[in-house]
Symmetry: C2
Subunit: 312 residues, 2 copies
């Protein structure tokens, strides 16, 4: 029997998927932006989304059409089929930004419900619910947003079948700059741009880079990270969807960024830098490009986020 | 003026290129087998191969048709055009084994000449000579044998153009078992089997594995190393060239190996194990397969070799 006073407020972070060369295999969490959910357990079996704030009216409060609701329903079906939950959703994460907006909402709900119900799900089960909710949102169960949002840190997804993930160490002084130019990119369309097959030579260069980026993180080798941030698969075709992409990334690198890339399927551009000061300079450099071109944008600077969701 | 008493004897190690998932990007050196060269500097501009031992008469003493000679000539042209060298070559490394036989001979000569002439070449220049000599031997400048033979250790070749390499840490208790079944495989033909283009999904799995193997070495995560030793590119097509390949690798894994693969283009099969005892059990298991099938073979067990060439 659930007392209907059981409530929790949870923050889950935005995530950068792919991380340049690591198409579908790397993702990391940041400290901001992120989504918050306010959950109230009920003793009637019903998931209800009471309100959504900060979504500009874009999201549905129908729980079957919202990843927060889908994740909640799947979790309750598994562990508390007689219970329900009221959800208030506070979107700090812009929708359609390539920062894992739907993943963060789902991660916050899953983390919160698991806490409210006394941790019935282990880490692996939580990830499976996260992947399911991503499938409902994006049509494919790519976990490079929801997994780092749920677990925090920098994640290597070595394999999806079976799921095999590994936290990589995060170099101490690494910062992420995010710039979200407000244009619309559909994840499905951005995915369709990716070639279905790639020349061997290109693939070899790409896996040299993914190995390099992984080693760079493990060894805190900033130069190796910088040299490995080269994407021959997604960036060449997706850059065309992002206003001023090459100018923005060049300005970031001129300002000292280790490297840049497209966050997930975009349009957010991310840069990694050594040190907060550099990351802030990089933000100014990227910002100035969009100021001149009159594109609306948002920016954030934060260290990588090792913890994932947290109670607010 | 070179006194004609300047001599040196150098050992350079065998190497395992590709290392399962890391086609063209990973390679490591072992302690045995290897090649030795005995070099005598002369003050007449002529490279002479006095004798070759252990090659069963397969190699040419014409210095233009032997990587040891080609490497020596290129090195002398650059740094001591008035000097010459007499070479005696002791092949401890079987030819056509996939263990970098030509690379080890070249590495030994380059290391030895550089020492005899007072280190005129820095590391980068030595690697360039090594790559050139491989090009003359194999038709392509793939450095995943000659680079680890020259430098020792476990090497990531992140990029060939420009050349960008990184030593990865070697887990302390890691051993390599090698089994060379004596069948002939031509490197060029083995290379032609590799598909020229790869489905995206396969490539993603491969770069998840290369990132995993790199991280596994950096973090001494033996389980991650084991899970990442999966090759979807070369092994499926090249395994057909190697007698009993699937039986040998299965027997190795049943005996406790972390994983197996084809050394370079084969036919040598390598296995990595945690601990010497396991590596020796793995050797027995692999050996027993070839004993039963009456294939001639040679085997070696050694830790990975962090130093590369050494003076004998």
């Amino acid at each position: 029997m659930i007392r209907n006073t059981q409530t929790i407020r949870v923050f889950a972070p935005a995530t950068v998927a792919n991380v340049s060369c690591g198409f579908d295999v790397f993702g990391f969490a940041v400290h901001e932006p992120g989504d918050e959910v306010f959950l109230t357990l009920r003793n009637t079996p019903r998931v209800k989304i009471l309100s959504i704030h900060g979504d500009k009216g874009l999201l549905s409060v129908d729980p079957e059409k919202n990843t927060a609701g889908v994740a909640a329903q799947a979790f309750l079906n598994a562990y508390a089929p007689d219970a329900g939950v009221d959800i208030e959703l506070f979107k700090g994460l812009p929708i359609g930004s390539g920062l894992g907006s739907s993943a963060a909402s789902a991660a916050a709900v899953l983390f919160g419900l698991n806490r409210l119900l006394g941790h019935p799900a282990d880490g692996k089960a939580l990830l499976e619910f996260g992947l399911q909710s991503e499938k409902s949102a994006c049509g494919s169960a790519h976990g490079d947003n929801v997994i780092p949002s749920l677990l925090g840190g920098f994640i290597l997804i070595r394999s999806y079948h079976p799921l095999d993930i590994r936290h990589l160490p995060i170099p101490e002084d690494l910062y992420c700059t995010l710039v979200f130019p407000q244009v619309e990119i559909e994840t499905r369309k951005a995915r369709e741009l990716i070639p279905k097959s790639i020349p061997l030579e290109t693939a070899v260069r790409q896996w040299g880079n993914t190995a390099g980026l992984a080693a760079g993180f493990c060894l805190s080798d900033y130069d190796l990270i910088a040299r490995s941030m080269e994407d021959l698969i997604a960036e060449p075709v997706r850059a065309t969807l992002i206003p001023q992409y090459h100018l923005v990334t060049k300005s970031a690198q001129d300002a000292g960024a280790l490297g840049c890339g497209i966050s997930g399927s975009g349009p957010t551009v991310f840069a990694l830098s050594k040190g907060k000061e550099t990351a802030q300079k990089v933000r100014e450099a990227m910002r100035s490009v969009y100021e001149k071109s009159h594109v609306s944008y948002q920016t954030w600077v934060s260290p990588l986020n090792p913890e994932g969701p947290r109670i607010v």
